[in-house]
Symmetry: C2
Subunit: 276 residues, 2 copies
């Protein structure tokens, strides 16, 4: 088995590539998995993308992303839920087993964190059975607490697992992302809990580097550049019996400014050095 057998490249890591370029680049480099964002898939056409990826012999490891259903206002809320139903359909069409969910944050003058978190639970109750019928597992992604107000009110693995608990594991699981959760004092306990309950839906990796840039969205580090004990966390994840893909998702303008093939070669090298 190739040492890249579990590697998957999230499309945002090499955002300068089109979906076709990403597919061709991964085939060329011997990378078996990709995790596209919805935008490039929609642009290319969902059915057409499904054929493109299947014909190339690649696997779609996850679709990024649904979520953003924390609005209290009914019309906005309904639109968000409908968009998530479409995202589930897209995942199913791509034969993709996992839809990543980023919950959304608080409104402009909103201080009701408890209310927003309650609405996340309500949204899951509507979406989970629909996803289950289509063979798609929803994967709640806790984002780093620095995104709590503007992107994701789900901040820890414990909280994501609590939210998942009312639903069957095949309908709702969680994402373990090293960038978002490496600091968590409960990381080992909660990764084990996710494994034992069959809810470890997806493992994503990026490194933590400082100083963080303004807005803190695009500061993820190339594997090995930062403070995350990547191999240790991969081993922790594997110790639960997980043997699924290792998805590299890095948002970093310095990588986007470079030649895509060069970035992929570097990611593969870093993956070998810090994860395998």
């Amino acid at each position: 088995m190739s040492d890249l057998a579990r590697l998957s490249i999230n499309s945002e890591t090499i955002k300068q590539w089109s979906l076709e370029e990403l597919v061709a680049g991964c085939v060329e480099a011997g990378v078996p998995g990709i995790a596209p964002w919805r935008e490039p898939v929609q642009e290319y056409g969902v059915e057409r993308a499904a054929w493109l990826i299947r014909d190339a012999g690649l696997t779609v490891t996850s679709l990024c992303r649904g979520g953003f259903y924390t609005a209290a206002e009914p019309v906005q809320r309904r639109a968000a839920l409908d968009d998530n139903l479409r995202a589930i359909d897209e995942a199913a069409a791509l034969n993709c087993p996992v839809l990543v969910l980023v919950s959304g944050g608080l409104g402009a003058d909103d201080r009701d964190l408890v209310g927003a978190r309650r609405r996340v639970a309500d949204a899951l109750a509507e979406l989970a059975p629909y996803a289950g019928e289509r063979g798609v597992q929803l994967a709640i992604e806790p984002l780093h607490p620095m995104y709590c107000s503007d992107r994701c009110v789900v901040s820890t693995l414990a909280q994501a697992l609590d939210l998942a608990e009312p639903f069957p594991a095949e309908q709702v699981g969680v994402v373990v992302d090293t960038y978002h959760s490496w600091w968590d004092p409960e990381l080992d306990v909660q990764v084990r809990r996710a494994g034992e309950t069959g809810r470890l839906a997806l493992f994503q990796v990026a490194d933590w580097v400082t100083p963080l840039p303004e807005g803190v969205l695009l500061g993820r580090g190339q594997l090995g550049d930062g403070h995350v004990p990547l191999r240790e966390i991969r081993e922790l994840v594997d110790s639960t019996g997980h043997d699924g893909p290792v998805e590299v998702e890095i948002f970093n303008p310095a990588l986007w400014a470079r030649n895509g093939a060069e970035v992929l070669t570097e990611v593969i090298q870093r993956y070998r050095d810090h994860l395998v």
Copy 2:
């Protein structure tokens, strides 16, 4: 009793003021407490500062800050611990009941978060009895997880309370700071735990605003400008029986650029609007 009876101003909030100006300004405005950082106190002279503050009829609610003892290298580590012993002496000289501890982060190429956290526990074991003998309570401050690599490997109240547990409560407590902990899904549970175990040493307030600035150090919001339910958290803290000071600690260059007295007036108004 004045509605400002519990208000204390951390010297960093109005950093443009000298210690003398801060003392005079607080007396003038009817604010009974101040929380100086060590630097302005050392600059003015510790004994002299103690007299200045006592003569003005003000209370020192905490001294900021000790800590930064995560280095593994023995000479650096010893220097850090010695500096903390001095900080305890300074707190005692100021008749200040609480020394705030910010643990420190990871070294440049360090990925050993577990080791750094173990060294925090070791440091407390040396410092706690020394502090206890001098009537100073060490207050472990969990910093927001976005500071985990560069400033503070203690990220949650649960973790701070676990670190405090081996020591008597009068020696080691914790800081509840709305800026650092507002996002924590366990905030209510852990604040109650802190209260019940007599370890709620200090309550600090600042608001959470976005976008965060580059480096994320100086982005704290004026009270009421952001997403933190300040009054709710104050009520939660009080529900444990805590009736100590409410310390306003805001790092914000926009406040530092203004007239100090004007900033103090605004802080007092915001305190009345969002906390009392």
